[in-house]
């Protein structure tokens, strides 16, 4: 099947510089069946709508990975599955941070050890708000 943008009979004249472009793809029979099945499930009538929705989803996924966010699905039981797509991983930033040396005074180290050994403080309201965003 070839994905083609259908032309309306009398399309409104687009402003200069925003002409629609055609998109054509050769799909294997299995992919063709997949497209038809998805269009039916999603109640999409045209290939244009199908492509537009698929593009929006893909753009979102690329944006999320670009920010270093991981993409999960979560079942009602809480079971999570991560979406890992090699192409998406190309845009994901490397999370590894470089390592630096920090100089400490003996009293700072004592203060740090004291804090590290304590039970963690409960989060402040501002921190909770920060993690909600």
């Amino acid at each position: 099947m070839a994905l083609k943008t259908k032309q309306a009979k009398k399309p409104p004249q687009p402003p200069k510089g925003s002409r629609k472009s055609k998109f054509q793809a050769d799909l294997a029979p299995a992919e063709d069946r997949m497209v038809r099945g998805l269009k039916q499930e999603l109640q999409l009538n045209s290939n244009t709508d199908f492509l537009s929705d698929a593009l929006a989803l893909f753009r979102w996924a690329v944006g999320e990975r670009k920010r270093g966010h991981r993409i999960f699905s979560e079942a009602e039981t809480g079971e999570r599955k991560e979406l890992v797509l090699p192409r998406l991983e190309r845009v994901a930033p490397e999370l590894a941070l470089p390592r630096v040396e920090i100089s400490w005074t003996p009293r700072e180290l004592e203060s740090l050890a004291d804090l590290a050994l304590r039970e963690p403080a409960p989060p402040t309201e501002t921190l909770l708000r920060a993690m909600r965003g």
Partner: protein, 176 residues
């Protein structure tokens, strides 16, 4: 304004960035890219408006560090795990003054916390360290940072936030 926070990229416009503090401006303009790409001594994340995706509105820089176990005073060593104490350094955080008061600092530090959690999950981290200007201590304290004692009386104040507190906050925010 739709703000996006991502890693600094070479074509980003940093020359006009002005947070009102010359060392912070200068770091972004002159050193952030080289430190990230060439020297690998800090990764800078920038806030940009999706409508003008090369103009930097704010930034923060992260790196990792650790304290060797034997550097701690002896009376504390026994209670600590038998390893170096891994930390994340929030080295700098600044917002262009044209955009101050719009919650950008909050958005930036929120992202820094989320990155810190992911790094902690991947390679381990016990807390976040920030060297904070004295007039900003209260702002960091609102997020739970605690001032460490024993630093120089003038100059930045070193502060610490336990990563477990951040993790609890994430869980709390997901349940809310």
């Amino acid at each position: 304004m739709a703000v996006l926070i991502r890693r600094l990229e070479e074509p980003d416009q940093v020359e006009l960035f002005d947070c009102g503090d010359e060392p912070l401006n200068n770091y972004l303009r002159r050193h952030a890219w080289a430190n990230q790409q060439k020297s690998s001594i800090g990764v800078t994340y920038v806030a940009i408006d999706e409508g003008a995706p090369r103009t930097v509105l704010g930034y923060f820089t992260l790196a990792t560090a650790s304290v060797p176990r034997d550097a701690f005073p002896k009376k504390y060593v026994r209670g600590l795990p038998p390893y170096d104490l891994p930390l994340i350094l929030l080295a700098r955080l600044a917002v262009d003054r044209r955009f101050s008061g719009k919650g950008l600092g909050h958005a930036l530090i929120s992202e820094a916390f989320k990155i810190a959690l992911r790094v902690a999950d991947d390679v381990g981290c016990r807390g976040i360290i920030a060297d904070v200007y004295r007039d900003r201590i209260d702002w960091y304290a609102r997020y739970g940072f605690v001032a460490l004692e024993g630093g120089a009386p003038s100059g930045p104040q070193r502060m610490f936030l336990d990563i477990r507190t951040v993790r609890v906050a994430l869980k709390g925010s997901q349940q809310a």
